[in-house]
């Protein structure tokens, strides 16, 4: 079926419209972050005077660098633990017959749907009593818990697709169970685990409500939360430039992830949903 010229131009127009709608708000933040403080109040879309000053400013202040470090550390640790625990559970869900499987899936579904604000109040009080309020651990533990449902879903969908007979075949050919796992199963499972890790990391990187309720200083505050607490150099100066620059900095990893792992992210997001 050859596409007619009219169809072609229709598709092109639709694509261009979508790309513009996506990019205009994103480019706007970039352009704000490069605006010179003196020109921030002239409402042009692109900067009239370009400057790196906003970036220099935020990277010279622990108000941003420390939270950025917190975000990276908390995100990586929570993602790692979450994916490990989710893999164990997902393997069981995909491969083993045991009573309580439905209850496990029900529990993770329940947690995935949990309104975070319902937990913010009790967690705030519990963490203060345990002395983990405003610490990395205090954020890592809830992030693991909320990464788990996502992980269990995505991974059990991936694990179901793995041809497990290969493991048996490898053993037939004389491989030890360990070799069969490392040489045959692990490489097949790796893509699913990478995908899951990306999704869980994006969740941790993005999370805001717990990040502002379970922290009080930059000791544990993550980057999105720190953004909301930025203050200008004086009471009357709105820190527009700094906030935009910081917003760009925390957006860049997302754009890199998306460019590198587009296929995996799409596969991961849709894997759990279609099975229903």
């Amino acid at each position: 079926m050859a596409a007619t010229t009219r169809q072609k131009s229709g598709w092109i127009t639709a694509n261009v419209v979508v790309i513009l709608l996506v990019l205009i708000p994103v480019v706007w933040i970039f352009s704000l972050s490069f605006k010179d403080p003196s020109s921030i109040t002239d409402p042009t879309y692109f900067p009239t005077k370009w400057t790196w000053a906003n970036y220099k400013g935020i990277f010279n202040s622990s108000e941003f660098t420390r939270p950025l470090l917190n975000s990276i550390g908390i995100g990586l640790i929570a993602t790692f633990i979450s994916v490990v625990l989710a893999s164990l559970a997902a393997y069981a869900v995909a491969r083993l017959a045991f009573p309580g499987k439905r209850a496990l899936i029900g529990l993770s579904l329940l947690i995935a749907m949990f309104p975070l604000i319902s937990l913010a109040t009790p967690l705030f009080n519990i963490e203060r009593q345990l002395g983990i309020f405003n610490t990395w651990i205090g954020l890592i533990i809830p992030y693991i818990a909320f990464g788990l449902p996502l992980g269990i879903y995505t991974l059990s969908a991936f694990f179901r697709e793995i041809p497990w007979e290969l493991e048996k075949a490898a053993k037939m050919d004389g491989a030890t169970p360990f070799q069969a796992f490392v040489r045959v199963i692990a490489p097949l499972a790796a893509p699913g685990m990478v995908t899951t890790a990306i999704l869980v990391f994006l969740f941790c990187w993005n999370e805001f409500l717990l990040a502002i309720t379970l922290t009080s200083t930059i000791a544990a505050r993550t980057a999105p939360a720190a953004l909301a607490f930025f203050t200008g150099s004086s009471q009357f100066a709105v820190p527009t430039g700094s906030i935009s620059a910081a917003a760009v900095v925390i957006t860049i990893p997302i754009i890199i992830f998306v460019l590198l792992f587009q296929r995996r992210i799409v596969a991961g997001l849709t894997s759990g949903a279609v099975k229903g």
Partner: protein, 310 residues
């Protein structure tokens, strides 16, 4: 799987038989234990972080508990719930939340379906489109919300002219919150719907076309019904997500000018008013609302909870 193995191992079938059969019941028990063992760390973490705190929140909600005077905390029964439910703030927050939820999910569904069809059928730049739309999905909500806030701030933003300040009046501020939500989450909806589109067999559509169905009829009579499970899952996820709306409102208006949602109200009671009892009561009420929404979707519309076939 078993038959496949049998074929491969015809050289020594009796070994498989001897090893496999007698162990079956013992093996089944071992499998059971292994299953529980593997799931237990995940279950423990989820129960510790979600189930225990929610029970604790119920307990807190039954007390008069002001964080400034913790030693004065005492049991007051259901009076916190009475206070919340008879307060106009709660009902206002609930209505604002429902408006944001219904409008944004409805618009997202229509736009998401168009986007899904575009991604699924486009003959140009399919990869580019799929990559580009992941940016709003992935971008930190707070970062995007600041972008919207500045875009609508007088003398800074490109979207606002003269001296109008749309974020300071209720109606337009809610519209901007909805816009920010839609921009951010339509891609997620579109991806779930696109996965649903791939479930519609091409030959069924072809048959309909041969029978003279128009493009609209093919979509409405064939594609939509076959996609129903995917649609319900997408709507359920997004509805529950939209009901929890917090980040966008916090950044865009901080709940000012009557734009606060139930989540913002709960946050304010806890961290501005430092009232743990009332804050917990609001938390529990939100939890109940979410449970009702999920129940309606699953029972009334028959949305299969994803993953339940396992």
């Amino acid at each position: 799987m078993t038959t496949g193995t049998d074929v491969v191992t015809t050289a020594e079938p009796e070994v498989t038989g001897r090893r496999g059969r007698p162990r079956l019941s013992e093996g089944a028990r071992a499998e059971r234990r292994l299953g529980w063992l593997l799931c237990s760390p995940a279950v423990i973490v989820m129960l510790a972080v979600a189930a225990f705190p929610i029970i604790y929140a119920v307990w807190l909600s039954l007390q008069r508990y002001d964080l400034r005077f913790p030693q004065l905390a005492h049991f007051v029964g259901l009076s916190n719930y009475g206070a919340v439910l008879s307060s106009s703030y709660w009902w206002h927050a609930l209505i604002v939340t429902l408006i944001i939820t219904v409008v944004s999910v409805a618009v997202e569904f229509v736009l998401g379906m168009m986007l899904a069809l575009l991604m699924y059928r486009t003959i140009f730049a399919r990869g580019t489109i799929r990559t580009i739309i992941l940016i709003p999905y992935g971008i930190v909500t707070v970062a995007a919300a600041y972008g919207w806030q500045y875009a609508w701030t007088p003398h800074i933003g490109y979207l606002v002219g003269g001296n109008s300040a749309p974020l300071t009046s209720q109606g337009s501020a809610i519209a901007i919150i909805i816009l920010a939500e839609i921009w951010k989450t339509t891609p997620f909806m579109a991806l779930l719907l696109m996965a649903g589109l791939s479930l519609v067999p091409e030959d069924v559509l072809q048959a309909a076309r041969v029978d003279g169905a128009t493009a609209w009829q093919r979509f409405y009579r064939v594609t939509l019904p076959l996609m129903k499970p995917a649609i319900l899952v997408a709507l359920l996820f997004r509805t529950l997500d939209a009901f929890r709306v917090f980040d966008n409102i916090y950044i865009l208006t901080a709940g000012g000018n009557g734009t606060y949602s139930v989540s913002i109200l709960g946050y304010d009671n806890l961290f501005r008013a430092l009232n743990l009892g009332i804050g917990s009561a609001i938390s529990i009420l939100i939890f109940i609302c979410v449970a009702i929404i999920a129940f309606i979707f699953i029972r009334l519309f028959g949305a299969a909870a994803p993953g339940t076939e396992g």
